[in-house]
Symmetry: C2
Subunit: 206 residues, 2 copies
């Protein structure tokens, strides 16, 4: 069934502390969506109750390094002496089943995914402080010059980070951020490139 609609790979990232994990958990708990969650590979030892292929794919250091060399990871990072990474085969398998996959990762990881998988949809989760700062800058400012200056430095970095993303989702309230993400998934499934290419492929059969 080569004409079946392939799932979307969504990459949810953003500055540390913005609440990526919380938003991702909320999406996972909502049974109304068709989102599947990435299972990572790791060289860390399994903890009590952790199942290989469910919580993680557990790998030896040699196996993991072999995967890196053979481009079998969408992204990877080392964290307190252990490797963590996203296996490309697993992601492709789920996408081929027509399911959407969501990957929650740090900014550096997201940029690695962009290199290996540019057709993914990149979502930048933005802190509400950015929105507040914006409102304050364009409204009547009540903060001191010094406070505003400091915030502007952080904000400028965050805004520069956005450039590599397709969407910016403000995490003002978790349920609102989740609704926006689900709307983006629906919209992306309606994108003309996607729908028209499916029709064109079907027409070629005749």
């Amino acid at each position: 069934m080569i004409f079946k609609e392939r799932g979307l790979l969504l990459v949810l990232s953003g500055p540390s502390g913005v609440g990526k994990g919380t938003v991702c958990r909320a999406l996972r708990e909502d049974e109304d969506n068709n989102l599947h969650y990435s299972v990572s590979c790791t060289t860390r030892k399994p903890r009590e109750g952790e199942i290989d292929g469910v919580h993680y794919f557990f790998k030896t250091r040699d196996e993991f390094e072999h995967m890196i060399e053979n481009n079998q990871l969408l992204e990877h990072a080392e964290f307190v002496g252990n490797y963590y990474g996203t296996p490309v085969d697993w992601v492709n398998k789920i996408l081929d089943e027509g399911k959407d996959v969501i990957l929650e990762i740090e900014v550096q990881g997201a940029m690695q995914v962009k290199e290996h998988f540019p057709e993914a949809v990149f979502l930048f989760l933005a802190p509400p402080s950015l929105q507040e700062l914006r409102n304050r800058l364009i409204g009547r400012g009540t903060e001191s010059e010094e406070v505003i200056k400091q915030r502007l430095l952080v904000a400028k970095e965050e805004i520069e980070m956005m450039d590599a993303y397709d969407y910016v989702v403000t995490n003002d309230e978790i349920h609102k951020a989740c609704d926006r993400i689900q709307a983006i998934v629906t919209a992306e499934h309606c994108s003309r490139e996607r729908v028209a290419s499916l029709y064109k492929k079907a027409m070629e059969v005749k």
Copy 2:
């Protein structure tokens, strides 16, 4: 307030008979959205109860032709001896108020809007027959060769039409089509170009 978020112009079009009017009416009746409906100019005489500026902007033929010459219409067409068109000033005024505007027009009109207002979001409403045809072509076909051939001709034209649009919304069920359109509006408000440029403008204040 130059940094206020400007509304989106949505152009809903598609082959004749696909149900553009019905979908647009359903969106209009739903009070949950922020969509505003375009008021057209026309040279047709007002009917009983029709109010200038509410149902139409009523114009003389001279006034209308003057608007065409001065590029004051996003699109226009002549229909049984009367002109109909969308006044660009009115649309810009509503967008500047931060409201989204939806315009329901024929394919030719949509292409005129694209010329005058390329930043609009173009939605192609697709007949469910296209989806059914696709399923039949890739599944087990039960129709005769002749029927399939005839449908393919129509489908090819429809698929070619799609090329100028940003999204394809299948009108399988009215409420589903409306949900998809609302999701597209939400997603477009999260587009990185849009959000990042608003932040960048706000930062320039300092």
